[in-house]
């Protein structure tokens, strides 16, 4: 099936996509008292712990450290749950894949959309925190959607590959835990990029998440323009990853129902 036809077909199944997103957002905390609030409470607790540990125990010298963390950790958390949920999105839906036809791309798409929506909620909190703390908001924050777009595109490309691969080799989902942990410490989240030794910097900056996180830090924390050229390159790389991811997904999906 050509790419255009695929897009048309996914559009035909948009209702399914929306229902999956709705179910994910509603169903995630079904039966809990705080419900959707957990989406916001979880990262808040995480922030609190990191702030305490790094500010008072490790004596981080970054100014407004909790805000720095807010600005970096929220996007990372979103990325982390996109990859986590995305990797298993096909294998966890074995029951419907075996029994019902629908364009399989709907599954990774729904993970991306529901996580992006959750992320946008947590960004509201981030922005409130920035304003309350005295760091203040500048017009540079208007570039936020641009950086979110780069991040989501990058994550989607990875999810296409990972979700398809995980159907065939379940190790992928377990491998992703340590990988994401290493990746987190290899990105400027808990510390700032200034602390990275000069000789490693060129390699360090090849990490797409470094560029994306720096983008957030620039517009929200440093209140400057983002580095458009680096972001542009990262976006181009993300598109390439999406194309490769789509080809892999498309090739592997024919046997999903048999392998899952």
């Amino acid at each position: 099936m050509s790419f255009i036809n695929k897009v048309k077909e996914v559009y035909k199944y948009r209702h399914m996509l929306f229902t999956l997103v709705k179910q994910d957002l509603q169903g995630r905390y079904k039966g809990s008292i705080f419900g959707f609030l957990w989406t916001l409470l979880n990262p808040l607790f995480m922030l609190l712990i990191y702030s305490i540990v790094f500010q008072f125990v490790f004596k981080s010298n970054i100014e407004y450290y909790p805000i720095y963390l807010f600005v970096s950790l929220m996007p990372w958390n979103a990325f982390n749950s996109m990859i986590g949920g995305g990797t298993t999105c096909v294998s966890n839906n074995a029951s419907i894949i075996k029994k019902v036809y629908f364009p399989r791309e709907v599954l990774p798409l729904s993970v991306i959309i529901s996580n992006t929506i959750q992320y946008c909620f947590s960004l509201v909190i981030t922005i409130i925190a920035i304003m309350v703390s005295g760091v203040g908001l500048s017009f540079n924050a208007l570039f936020l959607p641009l950086i979110i777009l780069v991040q989501v595109t990058f994550a989607f490309g990875l999810i296409l590959m990972l979700s398809a691969a995980n159907v065939y080799v379940r190790d992928v989902q377990y491998m992703m835990n340590p990988i994401m942990m290493i990746w987190m410490y290899a990105s400027p989240i808990l510390y700032s990029i200034q602390m990275v030794p000069e000789k490693w910097l060129s390699i360090y900056k090849m990490n797409p998440m470094t560029v994306i996180l720096q983008g957030y830090q620039d517009i929200l924390y440093n209140k400057t323009l983002p580095d458009f050229s680096s972001l542009g390159i990262t976006f181009a790389v993300s598109i390439v990853i999406c194309i490769i991811g789509y080809m892999i997904f498309n090739k592997l999906q024919k046997r999903f129902a048999e392998e899952v």
Binding site: K12, Y13, R14, H15, M16, F18, T19, Q23, G27, K30, G31, S95, I96, I97, K98, K99, V100, Y101, F102, V169, R170, D171, K254, R255, A257, E258
Partner: protein
Amino acid sequence: MAKKTKNKDDVAISVKNVTKEFIVYEDKSYFLKEKIGHLGRNKKRKHVVLKDISVDIKRGQSVALVGVNGCGKSTLLKLLNKIIYPQKGTIEINGKVSSMIELGAGFNTDFTGRENIYFNASMYGLGKKDVDPIIDKIIEFSELGDFIESPVRTYSSGMYMRLAFSIAVNVQAEILLIDEILAVGDAHFQAKCLNKMKELKAEGKTMVFVSHNTNQIKSFCDRALWIKKGEIVMDGPTEEVLEKYIEEQG
């Protein structure tokens, strides 16, 4: 089969030279360690389920697939539904498909019956606007009454199937793929289902039907395909095919 110049619009399902093989693993390995461990050992073999099958089904026709267990009937149905893909050959489907291969497959049991109607219908490409006018019909047909507002996990298996069936027959599909599912609910509901199927047939829907119940087949299929070991051994009017089939079964 003499008519070569068929109008393309008349054919709902066109299967050409389809071969389907399954790879059968002696023990299925999901993990890399096992996969590597199994390398070199002959742990998998190919099993040909369908051999070079070709068949055209016209619009409005009701076709029964008969054959013993494991002959490839259900595989053919799954191929028609695009859940699995053939190794060789092509399958063309003209029209919207509603599959009753596994009823209620997409139900999310934490959600209510009503919510699941919207979700299930969305798998057939129906949005809220399309479901709203028919939802009362679906609920009425399912005879679930007030239970429609309860989570599906509280349903009995009969209620579950009734809801699923009611959705599947009401989504306005042109082609229905039915696998052994008319064992839904009690005798009263079964009779109702059969009537509904006949109604749909009268409306000119195309149906492909897998069943071991010869009475059901006779009562509404005009044509039967007898599949044996992955090949179509007989194709013709239901009565004739069934007669031969039952004869061979002894």
